[in-house]
């Protein structure tokens, strides 16, 4: 079974600085998707970024980028120029492809990010 590990329960960063959140996963599949979701206090789950395993290029969305290391099964999220609105729980998630699109998301336990003014 696939597992996702986020080793940092909490992280903090100064406004305008850069922070990296770690995620590792375990799978025997070769094709899969990885995601970072953000959950602010409103509890809404918001997709931050996604990465297809077959793509070597790291995904980027504005201030958010990932470092995807397939061989090491590592998928870290870098947030540049941190803003107060980035404060939230961040979840790393894995989605396989063997069920033709009906695969579940497997989540890590989350990292609580605090942004200090």
């Amino acid at each position: 079974a696939q597992t996702v590990t986020q080793s940092q329960p909490e992280m903090s960063v100064q406004e305008a600085e850069t922070v990296t959140l770690s995620c590792t996963y375990d799978t025997s599949e070769s094709d899969y998707y990885l995601f970072w979701y953000k959950q602010p206090p409103s509890r809404q789950m918001i997709l931050v970024i996604r990465q297809e395993a077959y793509k070597q290029q790291n995904a980027t969305e504005n201030r958010f980028s990932v470092n995807f290391q397939k061989a090491a099964k590592s998928f870290s999220l870098k947030i540049s120029d941190s803003q107060l609105g980035d404060a939230a729980m961040y979840f790393c998630a894995y989605k396989g492809t063997t069920q033709g699109g009906s695969e579940k998301l497997v989540f890590g336990k989350g990292t609580k990010l605090t942004v200090n003014p």
Partner: protein, 111 residues
């Protein structure tokens, strides 16, 4: 335009009661899911449906019964509620291999 909606957003009830949570998506997606987020914020799949057909049932007690009247709706009925059922329940939908879109969550409190 709400993409994935859930009702109610808050639900407080007594132990032993039966309750339902409704979910609707207007995205035209084929697959819908229910996830449970416990008090430690851990999110775990409960069920998934594809075109009204049950695909995933993750060893959830049979007091929980999902129902999909059509592919835009996936409701969750819970019988004989227990204290441990207190959690936030999220509905989500997905078009294919892409990301899942989540509803706003329903916070269930069992007293």
């Amino acid at each position: 335009d709400t993409a994935v909606s859930q009702t109610p957003k808050y639900l407080v009830t007594q132990m032993g009661n039966d309750k339902s949570i409704k979910c609707e998506q207007n995205l035209g997606h084929d697959t819908m899911y229910w996830y449970k987020q416990d008090s430690k914020k851990f999110l775990k799949i409960m069920f998934s449906y594809n075109n009204k057909e049950l695909i995933i049932n993750e060893t959830v007690p049979n007091r929980f019964s999902p129902k999909s009247p059509d592919k835009a709706h996936l409701n969750l009925h819970i019988n004989s509620l227990e204290l441990g059922d207190s959690a936030v329940y999220f509905c989500a939908s997905s078009p294919d291999l892409a990301e899942q879109f989540f509803g706003p969550g329903t916070r269930l409190t069992v007293l």
